[in-house]
Amino acid sequence: MKRDHVNPENFSSSGSCSSSSKAKMWSCEPDDAGVDELFAVLGYNVKSSDMAEVAQKIEQLEEVMGSVQQDGLSQLASDTVHYNPSDLSSWLESMISGLNTVPEFDSSSDPFLESSTITSIDNSSVNSRAAQMNPTASPPPPPKQLHPQAKKLKTSPYLGNSVGGLPSEPVFARPVESARPVVLVDSQENGVRLVHTLMACAEAVQQENFKLAEALVKNIGFLAVSQPGAMRKVATYFAEALARRIYRLYPSNPQDSAFTDLLQMHFYETCPYLKFAHFTANQAILEAFAGKNRVHVIDFSMKQGMQWPALLQALALRPGGPPSFRLTGIGPPSHDDTDHLQEVGWKLAQLAETINVEFEYRGFVANSLADLNASMFDIREGETVAVNSIFDLHQLLARPGAIEKVLQVGS
């Protein structure tokens, strides 16, 4: 079953041995979530999905070792703290970090050598993509210590991802006194670190590993401020969003509707993202409605109904004529006395009349999308239904289980 999945270059010879093929199948059954069995038997803890990464680290270590003298190598081996040799990935990482400290130091004189090695281990282990921190291994440092005090900041190339040939220029910041942290300046390296930390943090959040995510998000804050301009802003917002997810600080429902309506209009005009989202959604809806005569759109993101004029026009112009079109618009309760949803519906109805599209509208007020259930929508027989939701579902993250419910209602 999985035979085809195997990358042929991994196997050295094309075997005709029938006994070998069975063993091959066993050994190449990738349990991506788990430890590679072949390694496990030999006492190593390597995840199948990390295999390529580990291989890369080995090559890296070899290269770094090549530039260190044998004396230095043995010295390093003695001086480094070896945590868990079974965990190949992190052991390799610690050796690589350790080695990067070696050339710059006069090993006999520096009292920081010990701590710097440990610091770099922490640094790289926290920032490493796989981020399976061995719980017994890393002493939990307060975040500020991690960042500026590192004597040697080598960006350990984040493997498996993108930046393959990272220039390994060591940044060297040696504190004058042990208490005075020194600020890092090299922004290029930090920029990349920032991106990777953000990604790693997001991943951690997705995997619900909130402890790790929390540690990472603290780092992001520091890294973000070292960046100039746009990068800084984006990173800060991203970080804030992640922090809100982690600490579950969800914003309460927003403000005055008239103001937001105005803002919405301006945003719609100025920024292409929303328009593009509407455009793409409409395309999808058009395709889904091809050949259908009775169609019904349920819009979770009604707001101003800015998406629908374009769709109505497209439907009016389609070969074979327009279908009869029903729109159910869902929105939050309005803060003033006006029935905002009805008004939008009216405007769309007027437009529909001018272009001869049979139009029916219903407005629905709901505090949260999760309050809805399928029976409310009055789905009629013979009609094709499309559910539209633009930039709305994420707001449901605040309520556990809300997204699942809404998706279920949708289906």
């Binding site: 050295s12 006994s19 050994s27 590679d36 291989a55 290269e63 090549g66 190949l88």
Partner: protein, 342 residues
């Protein structure tokens, strides 16, 4: 220098499965850090990094193991046996009766590799390998934890090997077959292969029966640089200078590589003419830089009229038998099985 490292990494990566490449490269790098230029060795760190497993009297995949210390020599041997069908007997090791009264059960005395310096009988890679041997060859395997260099030089490893062989012969519970005797074989990889040879020589001299020798890319060498050493230096995980270090650590101080322990059929070698030497299966990996010495060994045996079969695995690197993910492994298992059965 860095550039050539890259080339080498790519070459070796192409011929072995990724797991194997990672495993052996990892050893290579770790060992680089453990050897010191002055000839000393970071023993503590070596033991710490070495993945070890305890013996297990409960069968796993049909094989169980237990450790025995021979009080006379304070030698530790790990014994691997196939589990019987009777589940209630699992965990209880019966050491009174012979292995079988009807069938012949071969006993393989196994010497692990590690260039005389690394690994132990309880290293995970060797524990696993021995278990596989039990299943494949339907044999009992006794893995010898011989003393290693540089703390214990020549001839300690050979002495321990000899002691183990005698110990095996003297165990009533390792006997089998209608003749009720111990059907002993010697086997080893790398330095273990070298030990197997020397123990076999002594056994032949002193009339102790060894039914066969299995040498898996055995460690032989000499002062001369052979063609394969030059051609393959540094290409497939091994560098000549590393090999030199290990010989310096094993051979008596001041000796060179033409010492008969290392260069068995060289200028100082011992003739096997007329000796009742066991038949040999010599496995040579085509990408091992020592192959010229190993092939020379095979020729030497033939020259002395000894029975030898050569299994030459053209595309194999050292350590191909640690993981069952390649054809060489299966080929090897089949050959060993046939060798012992015949």
């Amino acid at each position: 220098m860095a550039g050539s490292n890259e080339v080498n990494a790519n070459e070796s990566k192409r011929v072995v499965p990724l797991n194997t490449w990672i495993l052996i490269s990892n050893f290579k790098l770790a060992y680089n850090m453990l050897r010191r230029p002055d000839g000393t060795f970071n023993r503590d760190l070596n033991e710490f990094l070495d993945r070890k497993v305890p013996a297990n009297a409960i069968p796993v995949d049909g094989v169980y193991s237990f450790d025995v210390v021979d009080r006379a020599t304070s030698l530790l041997n790990r014994v691997y046996m196939a589990a019987g069908e009777n589940e209630t007997q699992w965990g209880i090791v019966e050491l009174e009766k012979p292995l079988s009264e009807t069938e012949i059960v071969p006993v393989i005395v196994f010497f692990h590799g590690g260039s005389f310096v690394h690994s132990s009988a309880n290293s995970a890679i060797y524990d696993t390998f021995c278990r596989r041997l039990v299943s494949t060859c339907k044999a009992v395997v006794v893995s010898v934890n011989y003393r290693r260099s540089p703390e214990h030089r020549y001839p300690c490893a050979y002495d321990d090997g000899w002691a183990a062989l005698n110990w095996v012969h003297s165990r009533s519970w390792l006997r089998s077959g209608k003749d009720n005797k111990v059907y002993a074989y010697l086997a080893g990889d790398s330095s273990g292969g070298n030990i197997a040879h020397h123990v076999a020589v002594r056994a032949a001299e002193e009339n102790v029966e060894v039914l066969g020798n299995i040498l898996l890319h055995p460690l032989f060498g000499g002062q001369e640089r052979t063609e394969s050493e030059n051609r393959l230096d540094g290409k497939y995980f091994v560098k000549i200078q590393d090999r030199d270090w290990y010989w310096r650590a094993y051979l008596p101080e001041g000796e060179d590589r033409d010492h008969p322990a290392c260069n068995v059929f060289g200028p100082r070698g011992r003739s096997l003419e007329g000796l009742k030497f066991p038949k040999s299966l010599v496995v040579v990996a085509g990408l091992d830089l020592l192959q010229d010495w190993q092939l020379g060994y095979v020729d030497g045996l033939k020259k002395y009229g000894q029975e030898v079969k050569l299994l030459y695995l053209e595309k194999a690197t050292i350590g191909f038998y640690f993981l069952p993910n390649n054809d060489h492994f299966h080929c090897l298992m089949d050959e060993m099985k046939n060798f012992i059965e015949s």
